[in-house]
Amino acid sequence: MSEPIIRITDLYKYFGEVQALRGISLEVESGQVVVVIGPSGSGKSTLLRCINHLEKPTGGHVYVEGVDLEAKETNINKMRAEIGMVFQQFNLFPHLTALENITLAQRVVRKRPKEEREQVARQLLERVGIPEKADAYPGQLSGGQQQRVAIARALAMNPKIMLFDEPTSALDPEMIKEVLEVMIDLAKSGMTMVCVTHEMGFARAAAHRLIFMDQGQIVEDTTPEDLYDNPQQERTRLFLSKILH
């Protein structure tokens, strides 16, 4: 079998005394859609942020396409350009228009010419369903629109992996669907995705794997159907009973 696109070995992360991750090992194949769920403080977001090295692990290794992110000679900026990330709070650049948000990194990192990057940006805005908002500033967009621009911004780099850190948690209920539709569409296109989300509709529609984390460890790693219908662990059962209403 070929090298998995993400390989995590025995990952630990401490924040002072708090142990956010306690020995995570995980492999994600190219094209796989993985959904990570778990109670708050279980280390889901920390795990995600270790995959693009926004958090520096205390111990263990993360390999992306076989490259060790911890190694000194690894150019982390080059690696991150291949890993898109979508944040809970969108984190759009408020001083730039939607189009400029999407073209900035293409210009600065990818060094694409103006015409190419604007064409890419407009196509992506079309894909996420808001081509008419190209010249709007983030402050003029709804939460759902902002998150879709943020997804387009990450996709503009042509990443091989997309990480989603609770992308719908800061949204009003009526806007969750429009973001999830974009994510499902993306999953169907064969993108490798790791999503921290409690949107079970998304997990059922698109996920190949569902991982349940608790207290910094992976408790269950199975398919969405199995986890719902046949949870192996008491902790999982308890958690599911709380989030599935």
């Binding site: 926004l54 408020p94 990192v109 943020a150 990450a154």
Partner: protein, 280 residues
């Protein structure tokens, strides 16, 4: 949208009490401007005030005590000192402010040392020290007699203010949410690129009001350089008084000119701030 806003303001206005309306009207500006116009009319009609003003603004000899610099007049000297020293402070302050948030220990500690040192010394002491210690020392050390008191004064004022502006920039940078840097880095930008394209454009917009306040403060503090005999407004007034023994006319004229300049600066600064705000 503009129509709706216009409509709501009119309703609110109609409900405002007389006292509230009086509170909104800039009576203070009316009083100052009336006073200044009155003072100006009085001054130009009085020969000794006319002398004082023209001595400060249009001195009899252009290069009277000007270290070989072609000084037009005290008014221009004050403006020149303010603008040059402020530009020095703006640029040096930005560099120091970026160093202050750096994770590099050398850059951080160097800039912190500079800021604390400069803020720990009164501006007047700093200007005197540079004027009477550093400038003579450099002249002797380099044998270059062309280093002027004015240059020393500009350096003193500019470098001193840079420490204050550095803190303004730093607070601006730190006020930008952490997620901005993370988003930029997650797209593959380096720290410097993220700073340049994402953090600083936002941070600088936020600090335009405090920075422009410091420009007005700098205008007033430029009077300090009179202690090293830079022929700006206050120094020219002192010269006038020492020649004519007319302290009343001399210093009143100086105060009058400073007030006019300060008000002009405040108006300009408000206009700049409004433009910045509307562009965000």
């Amino acid at each position: 949208m503009t129509e709706a806003e216009g409509g709501s303001t009119t309703t609110i206005k109609a409900r405002r009490s007389f006292g509230e309306q009086m509170r909104e009207f800039p009576w203070w500006a009316v009083i100052i401007i009336t006073f200044l116009i009155g003072a100006f009319i009085y001054m130009i009609s009085d020969p000794s005030y006319r002398n004082a003003l023209s001595f400060i603004a249009f001195p009899p000899t252009k290069t009277e005590i000007a270290f070989g610099i072609d000084v037009r007049n005290g008014l221009m000297m004050t403006l020149y000192t303010t603008v040059i020293a402020y530009l020095i402070a703006l640029i040096l302050g930005l560099v120091l402010g970026i160093m202050r948030v750096s994770r590099n220990p050398i850059l951080y500690h160097l800039s912190t040392l500079y800021v604390e040192l400069m803020r720990g010394v009164p501006m007047l002491v700093l200007i005197i020290w540079i004027g009477f210690v550093v400038v003579p020392f450099l002249r002797n050390a380099t044998g270059n007699q062309s280093i002027t008191g004015l240059q020393g004064a500009l350096i003193g004022l500019g470098f001193g203010y840079a420490a204050y502006l550095a803190e303004v920039y730093r607070s601006g940078i730190e006020s930008i949410p952490k997620g901005q840097m993370e988003a930029a880095r997650s797209l593959g930008m380096g720290y410097g690129q993220a700073m340049q394209h994402v953090i600083l454009p936002q941070a600088i917009r936020r600090v335009v009001p405090p920075l422009s306040n410091d420009l007005v403060a700098m205008l007033k503090d430029s009077a300090l350089v009179s202690v090293v005999a830079v022929p700006e407004i206050l120094q020219m007034a002192r010269l006038y008084v020492s020649r004519t023994f007319r302290a009343f006319e001399g210093y009143n004229s100086a105060a009058f000119l400073y007030l006019v300049l300060t008000l002009l600066f405040i108006i300009i600064v408000r206009m700049i701030e409004r433009r910045w705000r509307s562009s965000v």
